[in-house]
Every structure is written in structure tokens, then in C-alpha cells.
Symmetry: C2
Subunit: 134 residues, 2 copies
């Protein structure tokens, strides 16, 4: 791994990721950071998001629809994708459960399990309420 140098843009991205509860796409991060750094380019955002993900300071979430999303909260937790509006929410599960699943999987796999990510699909509360208004 190469030597990293401080950059204000990267610091701002990391800061933003660690304070938002949304799970922004690269483009959303770009639009947000642009308020502070009007000249920042999308390429820089992508480069830094990938750097942060590689360093373990962010998580990249791949969903079947649309681009990847990023999460600055790296404690073990799960995500729910709303089938109706596409929003990604956090789902805190028993930390022990997460470790259990890794062990369980390791027993069934001819190799080594390092980690896992689980994506739940469902309907978020907002969309459930809307359903009754239509």
C-alpha cells in the first residue's frame, strides 16, 4: 500500500460519511462536498471513497439497482433496502449474532470465511404508511 498524504477533500468526505445516516451514492457525496469545495471533481470523490473503503474506514454496499452506496459506520451491522423507494437503512443486530453467522458459515465452507454482509429487502415504514394513502 502506498503512502497516504493528508488532503482536505478526503477529510471532508470521511467526516461527512461518519455523520450522515443516509447511505449516499458517490454522486450524493459529490454534491454534498461540493458545497464546501465548489471545485471538487467527481473523480476525486470516487478515488477517495475507494481509498476509504480499502483502508476500512468506509463500507461499499452493492445493491442490484443503481450504483454502489457508501457507509462510514464500520461497526458490524446490516442494511435494509426498501423495495419501494430504494432507501438503505441501518439494521442493528446483536453483535454476537454476526459472529455466530461467520462461524456457522465457516463450518460449511471448504475454505476460510473472513466476513459477511447481509442485505435485507423489505418495505420501510414511510412506504408502508404511503400505501394506505393511495
Amino acid at each position: 500500500m502506498a503512502n497516504l498524504k493528508y488532503s482536505r477533500q478526503r477529510a471532508a468526505i470521511k467526516e461527512y460519511l461518519s455523520h450522515t445516516l443516509e447511505h449516499p451514492t458517490a454522486d450524493t457525496v459529490y454534491l454534498h462536498i461540493k458545497e464546501e469545495f465548489p471545485n471538487i471533481s467527481l473523480g476525486t470523490v470516487y478515488r477517495n471513497l475507494n481509498l476509504l473503503a480499502d483502508m476500512g474506514d468506509a463500507i461499499k454496499i452493492s445493491t442490484p439497482d443503481g450504483g454502489d452506496r457508501f457507509d462510514g459506520h464500520v461497526n458490524p451491522h446490516y442494511h435494509v433496502v426498501c423495495r419501494s423507494c430504494g432507501k438503505v437503512s441501518d439494521l442493528e443486530l446483536d453483535e454476537q449474532h454476526i459472529q455466530e453467522v461467520n462461524k456457522l458459515a465457516d463450518r460449511c465452507f471448504e475454505g476460510t470465511i473472513l466476513s459477511h454482509t447481509t442485505l435485507f429487502y423489505g418495505i420501510c415504514r414511510e412506504c408502508e404508511s404511503k400505501k394506505w394513502k393511495n
Copy 2:
């Protein structure tokens, strides 16, 4: 949902997906089906893969690196992505476990959980052996 008409191309894709243990990308499916239908186009492959996924006859797997992969085995099971070679393998877990996880998640989420997919990351057996040769 619209009316579906039979097509040999779609049948061939479904057949291929249900017999392979790889988890091919759309392009891999395309190359394979091309042997039987030399004129098939990539667009047709994508259209049919999405149809199959919508009908529940295939599963679309999104990984952070590269394009989506497809799996014709729709019984509940998990996947392992090798961190070294990128290969996707099946992981059969206790079916009850899978239902348990949905229920557990539903209790922790303000909305409704419908399903989930879990992607394990690890090192497959082939790559583990290679490690000792290098």
C-alpha cells in the same frame, strides 16, 4: 406484468443457469449461449436475465467488484466471494437458519422484512492451496 411468450433463447438461458454451478455474469451467459445461437445479442441476454430474475427463476447477485452475477438455483442459499480470485461459490446453510434471520431482523426493523441475501467474503480452497506454493 405482461404476457410472456415462449422463446428458445430464454429457454436456453434458463437451462444453462439451472445446470451450471458457476455464477456467471451476463457476458459469460452471452458467450455460452452464443455457441447454440451464434446471432444472439447481448441485449437479449440482459432482457431475459432480468425477466428470469423478476419472475423468480433466477437470482441477481451484486458484488462490489465487477458486474452482477446470476444464479439459476433459487432455493434459499448463500454465496461466498473469494477475496483472492473473485470466484462465487454456493454455501448451503440450514434452511431454518435463513428463516430465523428474517424473523430476527423483522423484530429489529420499523417496517417489514421480506427476504435477505448474504454475501460472505473469504478465501476459497483453491486459493488457500496456491498460497503455499508461492
